[in-house]
């Protein structure tokens, strides 16, 4: 059976599983859609939340970014897990006590202002749409490879599938579908990692293998990797090269953003008790950590495998020949990935060999010229987002593992994209149309506006996904920055301080707009290519990249909110009582319906 058929089988079977579970679990009433987490054990809820949260950025993109940069991109690992500490300590229990269903409802009630609610909805839509662009990038890569078409065709097919998937939206709310998605996703991520870890280190636990010895050479794996990448003229893998200030800001932005993303926070509104909200955050992180502890191992081991493949006889011998790439079946992955347009090589000096080295480093260029491999790197293109999906092929693993990874990548990208589209459409139809603009809208009208919002969001995301502002994880990082600068400070001030309505509105607007401006200045207006005035290589403010600006945006939000609040009237008595009551678990009845 050829690989294409195997992939099709695995992807088809996983989809059949999700749909089957959705039909089986939908026997109950429609109100279960909203209260998906109620009455569900914190462990199950944690697993479902982990599936909801881990997207194309975590699954497809992150390990690739770590692999090609090394230590400096540890920021993704710390940032996307550290946010759960903030969520568990600063938000989840109190929002559960508040007992409504959406983030904008909390902001609207706590700041006793319809304006605050609308501003929160706008923040939510901006952050979620940016997030969907990142998912579409990942969907394009996954479909491109799995259907063996170009990245663009993959993206367009993927967009149709995501749309159909999101329209059958109820599926999303069913906790058990997400549990199944989590299982598929985590198996798809860890099984190839276990195989590769066994091959390279003999240790079946990838997270331990990373710090173990490289079986073939007997030296520690990371030392071996450092040695090879330095010989090829790249930065030492384990060393610190990036700007420290930017690293700290970036990590902080991801952390605050994690705690400010509405589709994650919502999960904690509906657990049975306040105590469960605390445990649920912990269990969610347990299931996320299973992937996140494996990811750095996947990255490092893939980098080692790729380097060794390009230099099959060591870096002092000859580079791999074109003939070998075309005929040796261990190199088949290169031809299949070339079709997506995301991998490329070219024998520039016509010596019949593909020399892979850092041609920005004068020393390694001199060494390559002296050895006769030419002065240019001939592995011309290696898109970071293909690494995880190509990894089992690179390591020459059996066909079923490759099929499983295709299913896992699609599960990660589709579930999150569909979830975000649902969040956007319900924000538009429920919070914006029914809540503010047209309170008398019919149920049919509400449903129609939800569908239109979804279609618009996916069209925008697909168009921008064709020319994404970065690799999937980088685009998603921008969404986290926007959430960090707008939603998180408002929620935290709502619980821990007595900031008033005007302060909150001014703070959210200031945080969102300044961050958006900084991102647009660097990534192009509305992410349209070539409309940017600065680049992240040479940013406007010192070393602060646009992906790291969210933390500064959050500080601006806090500062503006406190200042405006000090200058305007104090909060009314009943709101003071509301703040007191969310702080104490006592009397937290069940979450109320709308």
């Amino acid at each position: 059976m050829d690989q294409f058929t195997i992939n099709l089988l695995f992807v088809g079977a996983s989809f059949a599983l999700y749909i089957g579970i959705a039909i089986w679990a939908r026997a109950g009433s429609t109100s279960e859609f909203y209260a998906a987490g109620r009455g569900v054990h914190p462990v199950t809820n944690g697993m479902a939340t982990a599936a909801d949260w881990m997207s194309a950025a975590s699954f497809i993109s992150m390990a690739g970014l770590i692999a090609f940069t090394g230590y400096d991109n540890s920021t993704f690992l710390m940032g996307w897990t550290g946010g759960y500490v903030l969520l568990a300590l600063l938000l989840a229990p109190y929002l559960r006590k508040f007992g409504k269903f959406t983030v904008s409802e909390f902001i609207g009630d706590r700041f006793y202002s319809p304006t605050a609610r609308v501003v929160a909805v706008i923040c939510l839509i901006v952050a979620s749409t940016t997030y969907v662009i990142g998912q579409m990038t990942g969907v394009g890569v996954a479909f491109g490879r799995f259907l063996e078409v170009s990245n663009t065709a993959g993206l367009l097919i993927g967009a149709c599938v995501v749309f159909a998937y999101a329209v059958f939206g109820g599926m999303k709310g069913v906790t058990y579908t997400q549990v199944a998605q989590y299982c598929v996703l985590i198996m798809a991520y860890t099984i190839p990692a276990i195989f590769i870890s066994l091959q390279l280190t003999g240790n079946p636990v990838p997270a331990l293998g990373l710090f173990g010895d490289h079986a073939a050479s007997g030296t520690p794996l990371l030392q071996k990797l450092d040695q090879i990448v330095v010989e090829l003229g790249f930065n030492e893998y384990t060393a610190h090269h990036a700007d420290t200030f930017n690293m700290v800001l970036f990590t902080l932005s991801l952390m605050i953003g994690t705690a400010g993303l509405p589709h994650v926070i919502m999960r904690f509104f509906t657990v049975p008790r306040v105590a469960d909200a605390r445990w649920s955050a912990g269990w969610t992180l347990v299931f996320i950590a299973l992937l996140y502890l494996t990811a750095p191992a996947v990255g490092a081991m893939a980098r080692l495998n790729i380097s060794e493949m390009m230099w099959p006889n060591g870096t002092n011998a000859e580079p791999v020949s074109v003939e070998m790439i075309e005929s040796d079946e261990r190199y088949n992955w290169m031809s299949t990935w070339e079709k997506t347009g995301l991998l490329g090589w070219e024998d520039k000096n016509g010596d019949g060999r593909i020399a892979y080295f850092n041609d920005k480093n004068p020393e390694s260029v001199a060494a390559a010229e002296a050895a006769g491999w030419g002065s240019e790197n001939e592995l011309t293109k290696f898109n970071r987002d293909i690494l995880v999906l190509a990894n089992p092929e690179i390591a020459n693993l059996p066909g079923w593992v490759i099929g499983l990874v295709a299913a896992g990548g699609l599960a990660a990208a589709l579930s999150t994209a569909a979830g975000l589209l649902l969040a956007i459409s319900s924000a538009v139809s429920h919070d914006l149309m029914k809540g503010q603009l047209t309170p008398n809208i019919s149920e049919k009208g509400e449903l129609l506006s939800a569908r239109i919002a979804m279609a618009v969001a996916i069209a925008v995301a697909t168009y921008l996904g064709l020319n994404p502002p970065g690799f999937a994880a980088q685009t998603v990082a921008l969404a986290f920055g926007l959430a960090a600068a707008s939603i998180f400070p408002a929620l935290m001030m709502g619980i821990f301080t007595k900031v008033n309505n005007k302060g909150a509105v001014a703070g959210m607007l200031a945080g969102l707009l300044v961050t958006l401006l900084y991102i647009f200045l660097h990534k192009g207006w509305f992410f349209i290519p070539d409309t940017n005035s600065f680049t992240d290589a040479d940013p406007l403010l010192g070393t602060v990249k646009s992906t790291s600006f969210g933390a500064i945006g959050a500080v601006i939000n806090f500062a503006v909110a406190f200042t405006v609040s000090k200058m305007t009237a104090a909060i009314p008595k009943e709101i003071e009582e509301l703040v007191e009551s969310v702080r104490i678990p006592r009397g937290a009845g069940a979450a109320q319906d709308h």
Binding site: L210, F211, Q223, T251
Partner: protein, 94 residues
């Protein structure tokens, strides 16, 4: 009778304030550890830990890629356990 009610109400308010102060203290200690292992050991203090070797590299690298995640997990479960105990101590559990 009315006096008694307002006294109980006052006592409850006082205990609520004590509960909140205790909660904020636990949060501050936890967040200090949260920042120490990630921004501290993982990034800023890494040079200080460079002497401690872990599997071919140093302790700071381990904290940045795995250690901080494990500490985050410990912190969340500690907080849940500690707060559920505190709820009972102050009689504010559901």
């Amino acid at each position: 009778m009315a006096d008694q009610t307002s006294q109980t109400a006052q006592a409850a308010e006082k205990s609520d304030a004590g509960y909140w102060a205790a909660n904020v203290r636990i949060i501050l200690v936890s967040l200090a550890i949260w920042a120490l292992v990630s921004f501290g050991f993982g990034i800023l203090l890494r040079p200080m830990l460079s002497g401690i070797e872990v599997g071919g590299t140093d302790l700071g690298f381990w904290f940045a890629q795995q250690g901080s995640i494990l500490v985050f997990l410990g912190l969340i479960f500690f907080y849940a356990w500690r707060m559920n105990k505190l709820d009972k101590e102050f009689g504010v559990e559901e």
